[in-house]
């Protein structure tokens, strides 16, 4: 399967270069070789250090990455070439993670939960550092999510928030595994709704305020929603108390209304979601261009290299799903959705079979991150939800995102391995 996806990457890249420039270029071999090398390496590491892990996990990820990398290369060859380096780096980090976990298992993570909490909050706050420092924040497209490391003349930019989401899941899994019985106690009741001690609601309020602060200070709607939804869902999984879902849902809806009323950058998104064609010249342009791209898609799309996905702003990141649908049609889009559904199903399967509550919550949390992130961005570009600028896991261009998602898969594989041995 991994070899097949490498062949797909090479063939797809060949098709793109053939249709756009008329000849098949060296990129074909580079793309195929990098994909085969990276996922081959990961596969060997998985087999060696997590031999009992689910055998479907990596091939699915490899396929999604193949489709994404072809489309990113198609939209912007330079970004596509850059993404290859990110893939190599992600594979190296994934292999290193498997090696480290091999020694002591995921359980070791449980002990350092407060370190992870502090680290993730620190990472979330990192972009707020002044831009003048050698390691400083940077504002890109109106959101302050980036950290730019300046060494002499060179700069390296990354989004620390991406790593923060994994660390937060590890913390939550550990915290909830210990506290879930206490949190599940519901001594009070109002009608059919059972309520916990008021102080038990503090964590949910804390999570909400952190998510809201991310929204206010970094103007990142996507990360804010993702963090909060993951927290609420995991809390529900741990306690099985619908009260938390209701409370979280109310807070999310209230927060969304407040944000849409108070913050112009959120209001613009909502307006663009509801009326993209009326605000065509201003806020609705991107959403409208996405709809134009979908209008071309049809059943099988324009064919790789024959569409015009670059017309959509942020085609290689936020809108990569639409770009794929434009060129491969409903068939391609549905196949990709099925791949994500399969990945999510495997992830939840791992969580269900896990042999203790920490591992189960860890696998569930990581899977929820992947699922919610996929739903937020696909829902956004398909106009089911307001558009929130986050990446489509494994498919969008983005180094930080790819690294962290490979790390998620490594953790899932490790949990999967441990439950079968």
């Amino acid at each position: 399967m991994v070899a097949l996806s490498a062949v797909i990457t090479a063939a797809g890249t060949a098709l793109v270069t053939a249709t756009t420039s008329g000849t098949v270029t060296l990129d074909t071999f580079a793309a195929g070789a990098v994909h085969l090398g990276s996922f081959g390496g990961l596969l060997i590491a998985f087999r060696r250090w997590a031999p009992a892990a689910s055998r479907l996990l990596l091939p699915i990820v490899s396929l999604i990455t193949a489709v994404g990398s072809i489309e990113v290369f198609r939209i912007d060859p330079d970004l596509g070439r850059l993404q290859r380096w990110w893939l190599v780096l992600a594979a190296v980090i994934g292999i290193a993670a498997m090696r480290l976990l091999h020694r002591r298992g995921v359980k070791v993570l449980r002990r350092y939960r407060y370190l992870f909490l502090v680290a993730s909050l620190g990472l979330l706050a990192l972009p707020l550092l002044p831009s003048s420092l050698p390691l400083g924040g940077a504002t890109v497209n109106g959101s302050r999510l980036w950290v730019r490391l300046s060494l002499d003349e060179r700069t390296l930019s990354f989004q620390p928030g991406e790593a923060a989401k994994v660390l937060i899941v590890v913390f939550l899994a550990s915290y909830l595994a210990d506290r879930r019985r206490v949190l599940a106690e519901m001594p009070h009741s109002v009608g059919p709704l059972r309520l916990p001690e008021p102080r038990q609601l503090l964590p949910i309020l804390l999570a909400f305020s952190i998510a809201f602060m991310v929204l206010v200070y970094q103007r990142d709607l996507g990360a804010s929603l993702l963090l909060f939804l993951v927290f609420v869902m995991l809390l529900y999984v741990a306690t099985a108390r619908a009260t938390y879902l209701v409370a979280g849902g109310l807070l999310a809806v209230g927060g969304a209304f407040a944000a849409a009323t108070w913050f112009s950058h959120v209001a613009v998104r909502v307006e663009a979601w509801l009326h993209p064609f009326q605000d065509y010249a201003t806020g609705g342009y991107q959403v409208a261009q996405g709809v134009f791209a979908l209008a071309e898609a049809g059943l099988v799309g324009t064919g790789l290299g024959n569409g015009s996905p670059w017309l959509i702003p942020a085609a290689s990141t936020d809108y990569v799903f639409i770009a794929i649908v434009e060129e491969t049609g409903l068939a391609g889009g549905l196949a990709l959705l099925a791949a994500y559904a399969l990945l999510v199903t495997i992830g939840f399967g791992i969580a269900l079979r896990a042999n203790d509550s920490f591992r189960s919550l860890l696998a569930a949390g990581l899977t929820i991150v992947l699922a919610v992130q996929t739903l937020l961005i696909i829902g956004g570009v398909l106009r089911m939800l307001p558009l929130t600028g986050i990446t489509l896991p494994f498919a969008s261009y983005g180094g930080s995102s790819l690294l962290v998602n490979v790390l998620i898969i490594a953790l899932l594989a490790r949990v999967s391995h441990e439950e079968r041995t």
Binding site: A238, L311, L334, L337, A351, T367, L382
Partner: protein, 466 residues
């Protein structure tokens, strides 16, 4: 924990499945509604079957059609030149350009095109574009201009539908198709003076200044000093009235009376009293500095910035009477008038009402949508009352039409080849129904030259609607 985990897993998996269903619907819906959208660049690069649909007016007069040889013909010749444009080997303009895709059957050889063709009943006939323009209004507006240089725009106040759209001098698109007229060399005739030409609005701009005053608490009966001339602090030369005397009895006159006789000294002083920020703010709310969403594109109307006017009372005084650097398109002046007739809200102007199949089935229909609120409803009501007085007993009496209530404002703006004559107004049987803007470049006084042209168009509208 297993139960709750299963529930979350099921909910997320169901959401992914729902995304798939939603996407299937969206792709189908987008293909039928947005493939030929004029803003969709992809549609201009696509392949099309030969042959284009017709362009017809709201009253079913054919203004563009393919003849039996497939040559584009324009039966009404010069009358629709600036809105319909031409589709010639040398290039395209007007609706022929903006609705190029809608007028044709698209076929890239793709499966989507084939499927859409099946949905079309397999006929693959090009669609017709139906304008909102009414031919008698278009013709009478053109005749009333009588070859003078200028423009007439008529808009339905409640919907924004454009009933007439005339620019003069015009050209014959048939000659462009035949190759006997090069649009590049006839820039004077091809220029769309309704939307692409900006001129100083002169006294029609006093409506905006009056709105700024009403906004901050003045009312139509607020008295102002009547003087022969007004010298702004720091200005070089004074501003005088058109009659070179007092506007009234030399004591005071109300805001309404100042508008009725178009009193320069009152409005120049009023602009300086209000301040640059207030006047510029009122103008911006009324669409100055904004891109007007218009079928064939429109120039941006403009005036001097607030910071400059705050520091230069002389310029501010001249701005108050629509001179200096105030520049506006007739299209925007018509929209301003229409908003006064529509409780302060200007609707988005549109000239393509629908896309039909040759047998008359509706493919797409333009839904009226608000463009912007230019005035509060109270200010709009006051302006309307004051403008009614302008036509009953002021500078705009030539725009009176039996059987209609006409409200308007004249303007006579300085121009290098003689003053530009302006009239903007709204008219209806009981309530305002249509808005009109007329400009005649270097034509003379607005009340004597532009107002009678408006009256002729309004008479035709009355006859059509009565």
């Amino acid at each position: 924990m297993k139960t709750s985990l299963r529930r979350i897993a099921a909910a997320l998996a169901a959401s992914l499945a729902f995304s798939g269903i939603w996407m299937t619907w969206l792709v189908t819906d987008a293909a039928s509604r947005y493939r030929n959208d004029p803003r969709n660049v992809r549609s201009q690069q696509a392949g099309y079957l030969p042959g284009a649909g017709r362009i017809i007016t709201a009253d079913r007069v054919i203004v563009a059609i393919d003849d039996s040889n497939g040559e584009r013909q324009y039966p009404e010749g010069v009358a629709y030149a600036h809105i319909v444009g031409y589709d010639a080997a040398s290039g395209r303009s007007g609706i022929e350009q903006s609705r190029y895709a809608a007028l044709r059957v698209r076929d890239d050889g793709s499966i989507t095109d084939w499927l859409l063709g099946l949905g079309d009943g397999g006929t693959r006939q090009p669609h017709d574009v139906v304008l909102t323009v009414h031919d008698p209004l278009q013709q009478v507006a053109r005749d009333a201009l009588g070859g003078k240089t200028g423009a007439v725009v008529v808009i339905d106040v409640a919907t924004g539908a454009v009933f007439a759209y005339v620019s003069s001098p015009a050209y014959d698109p048939n000659q462009v198709v035949a190759g006997s007229l090069d649009p590049e060399e006839s820039a004077d005739a091809t220029l769309d003076r309704a939307a692409d030409r900006v001129l100083p609005p002169g006294s029609t701009f006093k409506v905006i200044v009056a709105a700024a005053a009403l906004d901050v608490g003045a009312n139509p009966d607020t008295p102002f000093t009547d003087s022969e001339e007004y010298l702004a602090p720091g200005a070089g030369s004074p501003i005088r009235n058109a009659s070179d005397g007092f506007c009234s009895d030399g004591n005071t006159l109300t805001l309404t009376d100042a508008l009725v006789v178009s009193c320069n000294t009152v409005f120049a002083a009023l602009a300086v009293d209000l301040g640059g920020a207030s006047v510029v703010g009122a103008a911006r709310r009324a669409g100055f500095g904004t891109v007007i969403p218009w079928e064939t594109g429109a120039a941006r109307s403009s005036l001097t910035g607030a910071d400059v006017l705050e520091a230069d009372d002389g310029a501010l005084a001249q701005t108050g009477i629509g001179e200096r650097d105030v520049r506006v398109t007739p299209l925007l002046m018509a929209l301003i008038a229409s908003s006064i007739g529509n409780g302060g809200v200007a609707m988005q102007p549109f000239v393509v009402g629908a896309i039909l199949t040759p047998s008359g089935d509706v493919i797409a229909q333009t839904e009226p949508a608000p463009f912007t609120r230019m005035f509060s409803s109270a200010v709009a009501a006051d302006l309307r009352t004051m403008m009614t007085e302008v036509v009953t007993r002021g500078t705009g009496t030539a725009a009176q039409v039996d059987g209609l209530i006409v409200s308007g404002k004249t303007g006579t703006a300085e121009g290098s080849g003689g003053p530009h004559a302006w009239f903007i107004g709204i008219a209806g049987h009981d309530n305002p129904e249509i808005a009109i803007a007329v400009v005649v470049e270097s034509g003379g006084s607005g009340g004597r030259v532009a107002a009678p042209i408006a009256a002729e168009v309004l008479k035709m509208w009355r006859d059509l609607s009565g």
